[in-house]
């Protein structure tokens, strides 16, 4: 199917990658600074917040889908924007799923980094904002793994995407929802092809990240 240039297949792959990348980007912009802030901030209730964030790692995706559905449905607070069953709704649901994952993993990495740098930053008189930025930049290669984990979750998401996207052909059909649909229809070749492509995509991203990490270790230590 890949070789014969199946247009539908390419459209599904393209949309899947596009949406997963968008959700990963937005999730990283929220999750990484949030995780770094939780790593360096000290305030009452921090431990409870960290525990809650860690609990969100196991957030059921269908529940997220339902929450976004209620938010975007005609009677919901954002209903007037008409976003339900659009790619934007999918990105919103995927972002809600990946941001806590990235924040929780980033917090752990940044906390380790912070234990090494906290006194140096304090000695130099660095404020919280510059400390946070320096920490994120210095740990960028470790945090890339976190971003990849987020991409993996976004790309492989099916429950929430089905609920808020509706699996509309040519509009919101992505690889995971197409696999679910084709399997239920009994069209296993397309389902299998999509499954292999999804796997290959995640492997490719991981390979690239691993290569980048090795290069970075050799270059920056």
């Amino acid at each position: 199917m890949m070789v014969s240039g199946d247009a539908e297949l390419y459209r599904i792959i393209g949309l899947s990658v596009q949406l997963a990348l968008a959700a990963t980007l937005v999730g990283a912009l929220i999750g990484l600074p949030l995780g770094a802030w939780l790593a360096i901030a000290r305030f009452p209730g921090r431990s409870a917040l960290v525990a809650a964030l860690n609990a969100l790692l196991g957030l059921p995706s269908v529940v997220v889908g339902l929450a976004v559905y209620l938010l975007l449905s005609r009677a919901g607070p954002l209903g007037s924007f008409g976003l339900l069953f659009t790619p934007t709704a999918i990105v919103m649901a995927q972002t809600l799923l990946v941001a806590p994952v990235m924040a929780a993993l980033a917090r752990q990495i940044c906390e380790d980094g912070w234990s090494e740098y906290a006194e140096l930053f304090a000695s130099l008189g660095l404020g919280p904002w510059r400390s946070l930025c320096t920490l994120l930049w210095d740990l960028r290669h470790s945090l890339l793994t976190v971003v990849l984990a987020g991409f993996g979750r976004a790309a492989s998401e099916v429950g929430a995407v089905m609920v808020v996207g509706g699996n509309i052909d040519g509009v919101t059909r992505v690889m995971t929802t197409a696999i679910a649909l084709e399997t239920s229809k009994g069209d296993l070749p397309l389902a299998l092809a999509l499954g292999f492509i999804l796997l290959a995509l995640v492997l490719l991203m991981n390979g690239l990240a691993l290569g980048l990490r090795h290069w970075s270790l050799a270059r920056h230590g």
């Binding site: 090494e116 740098y117 006194e119 140096l120 930053f121 304090a122 000695s123 130099l124 008189g125 660095l126 510059r130 320096t134 210095d138 740990l139 290669h141 970075s216 050799a218 270059r219 920056h220 230590g221």
Partner: protein, 225 residues
């Protein structure tokens, strides 16, 4: 002799546990003051309290004259950048000019390594880079926490030479070390810390010939058989 720093009835706690108690210290301005004591006596905590990294649980810390300070830690905490990149970052963070970076690197013997990743340097080189980073900030007062704890003799000799150069430039040094030979070679005065208390502040020559406090005498007897 001008006073450098005054501590009055100061206590320092770590995780709610007192690590330094009843600190009454008036420190005279001397080129090199060394904090000596056994492991866990509170040497590092004293340095951190003076530098402002550990708040006093009670008591007062007074600086008769405000001094530009820097600190070199036992673990050098280098960023994942080049040797030069670490210096430039520190200069930017402390809002000082980085134009002396190459000169400082030459003085610590790392100019040829300027473009190497800092974290791939040897332990001794990393510590010299940490020293260069502090030097670049042009401090008037430099705190050093066990600067030669795990470096080879060549690096130690280089670091000691740098410390002499610094004092010749007018930089005041307060250093914690467990290396008695180093303390003897570099120090002008000794602060002896025992179980979280300062037992004496004595000129170095007098300390090594006849310490005033019993814990210091015992410490020297055990360390210098």
């Amino acid at each position: 002799m001008t006073e450098l720093v005054i501590l009055r009835q100061a206590c320092v706690e770590l995780a709610g546990r007192p690590v330094l108690s009843d600190l009454d210290l008036t420190l005279a301005h001397q080129p090199v003051t060394t904090v000596l004591g056994a492991n866990g006596a509170g040497k590092s905590a004293l340095l951190r309290a003076l530098h402002g990294l550990l708040p006093l649980a009670q008591g007062q810390l007074q600086w008769p004259r405000r001094l530009r300070q820097a600190m070199v830690f036992q673990r050098p905490a280098l960023l994942r950048r080049s040797v030069r990149g670490n210096l430039e970052w520190a200069a930017q963070a402390a809002r000082v000019n980085a134009s002396d970076a190459e000169q400082v690197l030459a003085r610590v013997g790392l100019l040829e390594q300027a473009d190497r990743p800092a974290r791939l340097l040897s332990t001794g080189e990393q510590q010299r880079l940490a020293l260069a980073r502090a030097w670049l900030l042009r401090p008037e007062l430099l705190f050093l926490d066990e600067p030669c704890a795990s470096v080879d003799p060549a690096s130690m000799a280089r670091i000691e030479q740098c410390l002499r150069d610094m004092t010749n430039e007018g930089i005041t040094i307060i250093m914690a070390t467990h290396l008695l030979g180093q303390a003897r070679r570099l120090s002008d005065q000794i602060i002896f810390v025992h179980e979280g208390r300062i037992t004496e502040v004595t000129p170095a020559a007098a300390f090594f010939s006849e310490p005033n406090s019993a814990p210091a005498r015992l410490f020297l007897q055990q360390a210098l058989p």
